[in-house]
């Protein structure tokens, strides 16, 4: 009985001070993050304010971007950003799903893991490397073997002509999107693979046990099982494509103004900022670029918010 009783002296003295300090440290870490975020938003708003004030809503709708006359309309980069991100996602998503499904369901075990690791390594290649490869290898090849034949064979005025017109140098919206797709592909595949591996083996076995083919198991069981995560991965990929700078800057052609076809040169918000910030001497030019930054921030924020919203509806 006495063995269980706790005597006063046996209580280990605790350092209340350390506890308080620990709490304070955690709290300030969190606060610091929020403060940094708020600081970024505030400085973007302040820095971009002159542009918003001068051009008003026209900043979003006009595609005239002219540092000489100091007229700035951001429709070109905004549309370019959305189109490249969307196109790259359309290309990368089915491929990423395919890679992940192959690795998890069909690939012989001994080589599945090395391939999985290789995919993860691919995801870590710096974007400037992709950009260089895109500019020196992919763009010329694409211009020669895809763009030129398509343009040559299009009847003037036909839908093909409209869709594919542009200088056949390979530096355009479409090639930029493809480079983006190649960049986000390993990233998305790697996360999809992790995701698919979280499906309990017994659930898969139960589906096979009912007489499902592998395709039916994937379509009806595995993908729905991780549907939350799938949306999350799509949004992550989209976020990455939206903000990607270097590779796109290399290859998109960096033309302001509205792209007229998918083979037209264009620009994205990130590429515009990267290209012009060092040369932005005028106050209004800088303000316009900062305003662009704010727009990109808001787009990315909106993507994440929509993802959250979708996920909330997904709860089982």
């Amino acid at each position: 009985m006495t063995a269980l009783a706790v005597s006063e002296t046996s209580i280990k003295p605790r350092n209340a001070w350390g506890e308080t300090l620990f709490r304070a440290a955690c709290f300030s870490a969190a606060t610091l993050l929020m403060a940094a975020l708020a600081g970024v938003v505030i400085s973007l708003v302040i820095g971009g304010w002159p542009a918003f004030k001068t051009f008003g809503f026209g900043f979003f709708t006009s595609s005239e971007w002219n540092p000489v006359t100091e007229v700035y309309g951001a429709a070109g980069p905004i549309v370019g950003t959305l189109i490249t991100a969307f196109l790259s996602l359309v290309v990368a998503l089915p491929l990423a799903l395919g890679v992940a499904v192959f690795l998890v369901e069909f690939c012989p075990k001994p080589i599945a893991n090395p391939i999985g690791v290789a995919v993860e390594l691919l995801a870590g290649i710096p974007s400037i490397v992709y950009g260089m490869w895109g500019l020196f290898v992919f763009a010329p090849w694409f211009a020669q073997h895809v763009q030129l034949p398509l343009v040559m064979n299009a009847e003037p005025g036909s839908w093909m002509d409209k869709l594919f017109s542009g200088v056949p140098n390979g530096a355009n919206i479409f090639t930029a999107s493809m480079i983006l797709a190649i960049m986000i592909l390993p990233y998305m595949s790697a996360v999809f693979r992790e995701l698919f591996m979280t499906v309990p083996a017994q659930v898969r076995e139960a589906a096979y046990g009912l007489g499902c083919t592998p395709f039916e198991v994937i379509r009806s069981i595995i993908v729905p099982y991780v549907s939350k995560g799938v949306i999350g991965v799509i949004m992550l990929g989209l976020g990455r494509a939206l903000g990607e700078t270097m590779a796109v800057t290399f290859i998109i052609g960096n033309a302001h103004g509205f792209p007229h076809s998918i083979f037209d040169s264009g620009s994205t918000i990130a590429s515009t900022i990267a290209n012009e910030f060092t040369e932005a001497t005028g106050e209004m030019h800088t303000a316009a670029l900062v305003a662009l930054g704010l727009v990109l921030f808001l787009i990315t924020f909106a993507v994440l918010a929509v993802a959250r919203l979708l996920l909330r509806g997904q709860k089982h």
């Binding site: 898969r204 139960a206 009912l210 007489g211 069981i221 729905p224 089982h316």
Partner: protein, 299 residues
């Protein structure tokens, strides 16, 4: 209490088998060896399963009960490196080695009597997938699919048959009734199956398994994750189901085996030590090891 030394069974180890009459068997394992890669985990196991009876498999952990069960519907085929040698005979057809037999089984399945009208076009790899549809399986942990209760039950049926809405409704209701779940879920058929309690989920899995009218239903410790009340309900369900199906159940719960099964097989270190009518095996075990196990001296 646990001081009985457990040695690997030797060649000379006593094995006793009181098998049901051959013409009453629906599925049967004969001299079955099973390998996980190079590790052998079943040694010449015989398992005769009589139609419309409950056959229980008991034995200490790792003795190969689950492995044997997983061999019966060839679910192990999903994992490269696992393979079985011997025979597994379903309705007189060896489904382990003989492709022609698989073909025959499949053809019979698509013209069979139960719920068929219009079998869908032939499916890729269908020999094996159709075989699995004839030998249903329920796992230790409930495995509802991420879809509504209704769709969970309809899922397997849809794979093989085109059904009108009303026909499918009838199948779903019938299956849920037979699994003793209908009254609890009839008002929320469109809710997700993942929202049910553990016991309900398990009975949902049973309903899903029997909706495709398999000949044999395999259950791998179906009650081990359930509370006593859910377990009792599940047992009741199984007793009802044996009128229409043949059931093989792996269980760690000796009382459960004694309560519900007609035949019991006691396995130990990959061998079938004793197989016979449940009453005999529990009241009058012949092998020393069986006696030790059912009286609680080891295991």
């Amino acid at each position: 209490m646990n001081d009985v030394s457990i040695a690997a069974p030797t060649q000379a180890e006593e094995q006793y088998m009181v098998a049901p009459a051959r013409e009453n068997l629906v599925i049967e394992a004969r001299k079955l060896d099973f390998f996980y890669g190079k590790n052998q985990s079943l040694y010449g196991v015989d398992l005769p399963v009589e139609r419309n009876k409950i056959t229980a498999l008991i034995g200490p952990s790792g003795c190969g009960k689950s492995t044997l069960l997983r061999a019966l519907n060839r679910i192990y085929d999903l994992y490269p490196g696992q393979h079985a040698v011997g025979r597994i005979v379903l309705d007189g057809n060896d489904m382990l080695t003989d492709r022609k037999s698989l073909q025959r089984l499949r053809d019979r399945n698509s013209t069979g009597a139960t719920v068929d009208e219009e079998p869908q076009a032939s499916r890729a790899g269908s020999d094996l997938t159709q075989l699995r549809a004839r030998v249903g399986m329920v796992f230790q942990k409930p495995t509802p699919f991420p879809m509504s209760i209704y769709d969970n039950v309809a899922f397997g049926v849809k794979l093989y048959h085109r059904k009108s809405k009303s026909e499918m409704d009838a199948i779903v209701e019938r299956s849920l009734r037979r699994a003793a779940l209908w009254d609890e879920v009839k008002d929320k058929l469109n809710k997700s199956g993942l929202g049910l309690s553990g016991g309900q989920q398990q009975r949902l899995c049973v309903a899903r398994g029997i909706a495709v009218e398999p000949e044999v239903l395999l259950l791998d410790e179906p009650a081990s994750a359930l509370d006593p009340i859910s377990t009792a309900k599940l047992e009741e369900t199984l007793m009802e189901l044996k009128r229409d199906f043949t059931i093989v159940i792996v269980t760690h719960n000796l009382q459960q085996a004694a309560r519900i099964s007609d035949y019991t097989g006691f396995m130990f270190l990959g061998k079938m030590i004793e197989f016979g009518p449940t009453e005999d095996l529990f009241s009058n075990p012949r092998a020393q090891r069986t006696r030790d196990y059912v009286t609680g001296r080891f295991g």
